[in-house]
Amino acid sequence: MHEWTDGLAGGFMDVDDALAREFDALLVENSALAFRVAFSVLRHRQDAEDVAQEAFAKAHVRFKQLRDRQRFRSWLVRMVWRMALDHQRSERRRSARESEHGRSHGAWSSDGGVPNDRAAMLWEAIDRLPEKLRQVIVLASIRGHDVAEVGRLLGIPAGTVKSRLFLARQRLKDHLQWLKTESTTR
């Protein structure tokens, strides 16, 4: 009897261990993706890491339904995006406190060697895009993502990604042009 119960407990332990290992592998593989998606909305390193961490915690709870790699990635991207937007809204409500700490909406770190004024213009232009176009341009700009991968992540056909990407770039270009002329006339 003891052998049987020990065997059963060992079996459960094996299943849990296997799940934990699987989750850890997906965490390592997707940590940068989750962080980048959150950062593209929040433009703040610490907030982006907090949001990505919370998204991983949610995925951890639901991991038995998300064991498939592709499903996990697309679920994670959508979850991080939504949570980052929620976080942004709540942060905006506390704008008075943010300004005290010098954390206004545009107060991001100038990562990647882009000059601050140029980066500010780009973010502003991205912010003006409708959400669907913004999602596509953000995910397409992340290294290693082609049209098909963006489509898989968002659950839309590759053709739709292409058309949205074209539209997003056009609008981005127009906004940037407008912002440039605005800044020179000032």
Binding site: D16, L19, A20, F23, D24, L27, V28, S31, A32, F35, R36, F39, S40, R45, A48, E49, A52, Q53, F56, A57, H60, V61, R62, F63, K64, D111, G112, G113, V114, R118, A119, L122, W123, I137, V138, A140, S141, I142, R143, H145, D146, V147, A148, A158, L165, R169, L172, K173, L176
Partner: protein
């Protein structure tokens, strides 16, 4: 595929480069370790703890379901019984008495209409008739019967003869 690569399709090279630089920011080196530590406290697949009010509502709903099931177990539903079966019940025939009270599988005799009677009513009728037959019926327990000492007078119905009525019609016509 080469044509699907996003970098190749960007019109504005400078914007593409800047976008790439802005979006491909790395998280801090300790980020993964921090997430691992955060998750260690939670067992894999652990559910969010239930709110106390949810538990109370659940218990209330369960109690209600149990009560409903228990209430439905009481044989209150009337049984479809043919008229002949009522006669059997009244006569308290032994062959009929053995049939379970909730059974509805009594064949309807030809020309008889079906009457709905509950098993409780059937049992009551059976008891009443047995008591009457054996003289055990306590007449004091019965509701008082209104007795009228004066005999009921029924006036005879007078029907006019048809001939007289026909004569009357003929006279009116002249």
């Amino acid at each position: 595929m080469a044509e699907d690569r996003i970098d190749d399709t960007m019109n504005d090279e400078a914007s593409a480069r800047d976008l790439d630089a802005l979006m491909n920011v790395e998280p801090s080196p300790e980020f993964v370790a921090r997430v691992r530590t955060h998750l260690e406290a939670r067992p894999l697949g652990a559910r969010v703890p239930l709110d106390r009010s949810m538990l109370l509502w659940g218990a209330a709903a369960l109690t209600l379901v149990v009560l409903m099931v228990w209430w439905n177990d009481i044989p209150e539903t009337p049984v479809s019984t043919p008229a002949g079966r009522i006669a059997d019940i009244m006569l308290d025939r032994p062959a009929v008495r053995d049939v379970p009270s909730h059974s509805v599988a009594h064949p309807v005799r030809q020309g008889e209409s079906e009457v709905l009677i509950s098993p409780r009513d059937a049992a009551g009728l059976r008891l009443l008739l047995a008591a009457v037959r054996e003289g055990r019926l306590d007449s004091d327990a019965l509701p008082p019967v209104i007795e009228d000492s004066t005999p009921m007078a029924i006036e005879p119905i007078v029907i006019e003869p048809l001939v007289a009525a026909a004569d009357l019609d003929a006279g009116g016509a002249q």
